[in-house]
Structure formats: structure tokens, C-alpha cells
Subunit: 208 residues, 4 copies
């Protein structure tokens, strides 16, 4: 098989990025479909729009949370790919798995929004935090496959960045496992832990 030139390799990486960006962009924009405008006819003679909108607060919060989560995952995906130059068959598959994780985020988020005040809140929180365990495992899969013996990394990769990512990602699944365990006893603590972890992964990578 002919060895691809560097330019061809970059074109290939470009296309996997374009496809991934498309999936992230559609996923983040589809979220708005879950926010329904209250129907004037449904409000009744006593009801007011203000009250109808206040009752929708879990949907608004779910929207903001899903948007922030997918945005942060996009930022991390973007940063990883800045260190990657080549792609291969298995990498396309692992990246596909990761995108699978990204596209399902709205589902557990909506589940939590719907059941937060019900007896089934614990199950919703278990599914919510479980999804993020899965996604953090997929992020590790994509990154470790690419970084293993510099398989797909750039020659001029940022070594400090690679070290920090290695460490940060290794912790991810364990952090989310704690949130998962919390879901069985304290739903609010579990959800809060997941959100705090999103903020943690949104922090810029910088340090000594």
C-alpha cells in the first residue's frame, strides 16, 4: 500500500473533524426542540404566561445544562484533535463511539428534568451519571488509542499538554463513578457532582 503523504493525512483528519463538528453542531442545536412554547389556549382563563413559563423551569435548566455539556465536550474534542495528525480505521470507530455518547446526552438530561421531584429521581440520576461514565471512557479510548506510542499524534505535539491530558482523562471515569455511587443515596449531590465535573473539564489546561 502506498504511504499517504502528509497533506493527504491532514485532509483525512480534516474530514473526521468536519463530520464530528457537524454532529456536535446538530446535537447542540436540536436541544431547542425540547423547549415548547406554552399554548395560549391551554392557559385557561386564570392561567398566565408567567406561571406557565415558571413551571417549565426544569426544561430550561436541562437545556442550559445540555448545551454547556456538549459545548465543553466539543472544546475538549477540538483540543485533542489539535494534537492529532493522522487517522486510521479503528480511530474512526472509536471517534464514532464518542459521538454516540455525545448525541445521547439530551436523553438522560431530560430524564432528570422530568423526574427530579418524583420517587424515580434516583434512577434518573443513576442513568445521568452512568452516561457520563460511558462518555469519559470513550474519551479515554479515543485519546489513548491516538496517543499510544504516538500512534496518530503530530511530530510537533505539545508534550506538556499530552501529559496533562493523560492524567486528567485517567481520573475522569473514577470521578464520575463517585457521582454514580452518590445517585443511590443523594440525587442532588450526584447531579451537582456531574455539573462540577463539567466545569472541571471546561477549565483551560495550564499549570506548573
Amino acid at each position: 500500500m502506498l504511504k499517504p503523504t502528509r497533506q493527504q493525512e491532514e485532509k483525512e483528519t480534516g474530514r473526521i473533524e468536519a463530520f464530528s463538528d457537524g454532529v456536535f453542531a446538530v446535537a447542540i442545536t436540536l436541544l431547542v426542540l425540547d423547549i415548547k412554547v406554552p399554548h395560549a389556549a391551554d392557559l385557561g382563563s386564570q392561567g398566565t404566561l408567567a406561571r406557565a413559563l415558571l413551571l417549565q423551569w426544569p426544561q430550561f435548566l436541562a437545556y442550559v445544562t445540555s448545551f454547556a455539556t456538549i459545548l465543553i465536550m466539543w472544546m475538549n474534542h477540538h483540543k485533542l484533535f489539535n494534537q492529532i495528525r493522522r487517522t486510521d480505521h479503528w480511530f474512526l470507530l472509536w471517534n464514532g463511539l464518542l459521538l454516540f455518547g455525545v448525541t445521547i446526552v439530551p436523553f438522560p438530561t431530560a430524564l432528570v428534568a422530568e423526574f427530579i421531584h418524583r420517587k424515580d429521581a434516583a434512577l434518573a440520576a443513576i442513568i445521568y451519571s452512568g452516561t457520563f461514565i460511558l462518555i469519559s471512557v470513550f474519551f479515554n479510548l479515543v485519546w489513548r488509542y491516538a496517543a499510544h506510542k504516538n500512534r496518530l499524534l503530530k511530530a510537533d505535539k505539545d508534550d506538556r499538554f499530552v501529559r496533562i491530558i493523560n492524567r486528567q482523562y485517567a481520573c475522569g471515569p473514577f470521578f464520575y463513578l463517585i457521582a454514580f455511587a452518590l445517585a443511590f443515596t443523594n440525587v442532588t449531590a450526584s447531579i451537582t457532582a456531574c455539573m462540577a465535573l463539567a466545569v472541571f473539564f471546561a477549565l483551560p489546561i495550564a499549570g506548573p
Copy 2:
């Protein structure tokens, strides 16, 4: 940390543009989902299609308005990025906030379309104009972060363009604040002001 080359920087800017373009493109195309085809069965024996379509006029107007608004925001985003060469962690976040503003536009627009002739029209107009205050603040955030001490701008940026944008954007939130204040007393004037401001931001940048 290795200093990225100019080519790498442009690739990075390209990817944030591609993601943003994806979000704008999906947001502007999803709008059509809000226009429902009247069901033949629902028209009854007396009803005609013409009458059913005429009753849908607020939805058609909301569609045209949302489309125009998102298109104009895309054009402005496009123009800003023509002056930008680099990107960094915080810029990705501010741009994400701006995209958040863009994707929610259909919601307040549909709200106004639903409640324009009801007692809750004022609240709908308050939310509508309030959304645009938010978006104009986000536009300022993105632009000022990039332009501050030429942090992320091109070396060969268009200085006159930068000056005009600085001035135009500084006024944006205040103009929308007037529309917001109007919403409490005169709904039609508030909505009209918002549309006039969209036209203002759609004008080409040219002058002495």
C-alpha cells in the same frame, strides 16, 4: 509550550468557524419545523385551506423574522471572524455563549407570535427584547475579548472596520434596552424597534 505556527492557528480558527457555521445552519433550518401543514381532516366541511393558512400568519411572520435575525447574526459573526486569526480557550467559551444566544432565538419569537393578541403580550415582548439584549452583550464579549490589545486579531486587520465595529457594538445593548423598556408600555413599538435594530445591524459597514 511550543508556539503554534501561523498555519496551525488558521486551522484552529477554521474549526471554530466550521462549528459555528454548523450551529447557525442548523438553527436557521430547524425553524421550518414550526410551520405545520394544516390537516385536511381538521378543516371540517365548512373550512377551507385558504382560511386555515390565513390563521397561521403569526407563525409565518415569526418564521421570516427568525430566519432574517439568524441570517443577520451569521453575517456579523462572519465579518468579525474575517478580522480574527487566532483563538484561545476563553474565546471558545465566549463564542459558545454567543451560539447559545443564537439557538434560543426561535423560542422568544414563537412566544411573541403566540401571545401578540393576548393579555400576556407585554411579557412576551419583554422576553423577546431581553433575549436580544443578552445576544448583543455576548457579541460584545466575543468581539472585545478578541480585539482587546489585538489579542486575537490579524496583523493585517482592517483598522477602520475595527473602529466602526467597536462603536456599533457599544451601542447595541443600549438600543435593545430601549426596546426592552418600551415592552412594558407599548408592545408593538418594542417589537418594531427590535426589527429595526436587526436591519441596522444588517447594513453594510461603510462611511466616512
Copy 3:
């Protein structure tokens, strides 16, 4: 104002293409949302899936027609932009108008599918053909604005292609006007004329 370099110009054209491609891609893929899977529970004890699917034929036909129409418009948009090198403020607006036309195609198509066998079929056909008059006017606007005195065309544009496009596009609105007039007297002839015109615009440009 600094004169943009050729490379910057191509980057700008690239971004308007990317945004347009995004809109076309979303519009063509959203169509599938109109095809509903029959619910097993709704079929009743006598009903069969085969019969339920057969009753859905207008929706299937509308899907195929909308898909083909948007694909052909994308192909034409793609060909126009192969001759275009620069972009400017007004061109972004005309292109936006054209994209507006593209995104609404599913609505009149679904309208025809719903009312083809009802007394309101004529109005549906009037709206259907009327939409295509509008779109062909927008295509002319985009093309003539770019081609006027070679305003935005490449230096190495294909002169024969430009001439053929000029002629073909000039006829477009008039052809669709005939389909529009037909809608008042013969619905089937009007719809058939619109489809024949789509095929006409799908033909490769070649000749003496």
C-alpha cells in the same frame, strides 16, 4: 480599507459555501421527519402494515420530490459558486434569501401531498408553483448580482458556462409562471410541469 488578498477572498467564499452547504444538508435530511412509522396499536385487528404503508404514498412521494428538488438546487448552487471567487455584503444577503427559499420547499410539497385529492388542491398547487417562481427569482438575483460586469466572478471563469447559465436562468421564472397559471385550471398539469422543470435544471450543461 485594505484590499483583501486573493487567499482571503477564497477563504471568505469558502465560508459562505460551508454555511450554504450546511443549510442544504440539514434541509434535505430534515425531510425524513415527515415520514411517520405507523403505530402497531393504531392498526386495529383488521388493519395490516401493508395497507397502512400504501395509504402513506403521498407522503413518500412528497419525500422523494422534496429530496430531489433540494438536491438539484444544491447542484446548481455548487455550479454557480464554482465560477465565483469573491463575496460582498449584498451577496451574503441575496444568498441568504435563496437559502430561505430552499428551506421552505418541504412546506408547499407537504401541502400538495395533503390536499391533492381534495377540493383545495388548486390552492396547494398555486402555492407550490408560486414557491418555485420565488426560488427561480432568487437564483437569478444571486447569479446576476455576481455576474454583473464580472463583479464577483473568477478571472478564469468559464465564459460558455456563464452564457448558458444567463440564458437558462432568464427562462426559469417564466417557465414556472406557466406552471403557476396551469394550477388554476389543471392541478396535475401544474405539478407535472414543476417536476419536469426540476429535471430540466438537473441536466448537465453541455451543447454546441
Copy 4:
């Protein structure tokens, strides 16, 4: 007609890839809309969330299957285009047909999910496997049109890859024809065969 330069040709191929990527990305992300969050109010006093989610398993399985199928088709599309340098009018059309096939995948998948345990299961499996016959014919059309006498292939194409693809694709429609025939007698075997074929096409191309 002026002969396009190599750079122009690659730009054109780039745009057809970008449009195709957009369609794949939207199609794969729209799937999530079919997964509905159970409404707390619908569960009743006895119902639990766990039970409601378990009853949704065919929808979850359909989601995973559709996602995997579209991902695998994207990977194959990506690989084909790595060997292609030019594009022409008819190629745009054949590629459009293939994208048509891709976007409809969720429909037969949802059909199987809905009717797998009903008397109409055979018809659902016939439509499901029939769709994949169609798609494998379209993949052949795109590839053979491009590869015929190296019409649109790169000069430095990978000859071994071309030979393997030729052979693999020639078998595709016949394999799916077997799955189609199975649908008339054994629904489970037919669906399983389709899934096994998806895995077959997901394998990396390597061998003596």
C-alpha cells in the same frame, strides 16, 4: 471549456464531501429525536420509570443499530472519497442517490422496532433488508462510476484498495439479497444477517 486546475478539482471534491458529511452528521444526530422521555404523569400510581424504560428497549436497540449503520456507511464513504480526486455532473447525482439511501435508514429501522413482535414482522424485515439492497446498489453506482477507467480517481490511487473494494462491493447486493429472501421465512435470521453484513463492511480492509 477551460480545463480546471488540479487545485480547483480538489476544491470541488471538498465541497461534495462537505455536503455529504453534513447529511451524514444530521442523519446520525436526528436519530435521538425518536427516543422519547417517559412522561411522569403517564406512569400512573403503579408504574415505575424502570418499567417504562424497559418497555422502550426496541427503540433503544433501533437507535443503536441506526447509529452504527450510518456510522459505518460514513466510514465507507470517507474511504471511497480518499481515492477520488475529481467530480462531475453525474457523480453529484449518484452521490445524491446514495445520500437519499442514507437518510431513509431510520424509517425501516423504526418499522422493524415497532413490528418485530407482531404478525407484520415479515413485511418490516422485507422493507428493512430491501432498503439495504438499494443502498448497496447505490454504493456500487457511486464507486463504479468513479472507478470506471479511472474516470475520477486520483493518479496516486491505492490499486490494492481499488481491487478489494471492487470485489467487496460486487458481493454486497447479493449478500443483502439473501437477507431479503430470509425475511419471507425467518425474520430474526434476516435482521441478524443485515447486522452481520454491517459488521462485515465495518472491518478494515487488509489482507493478502
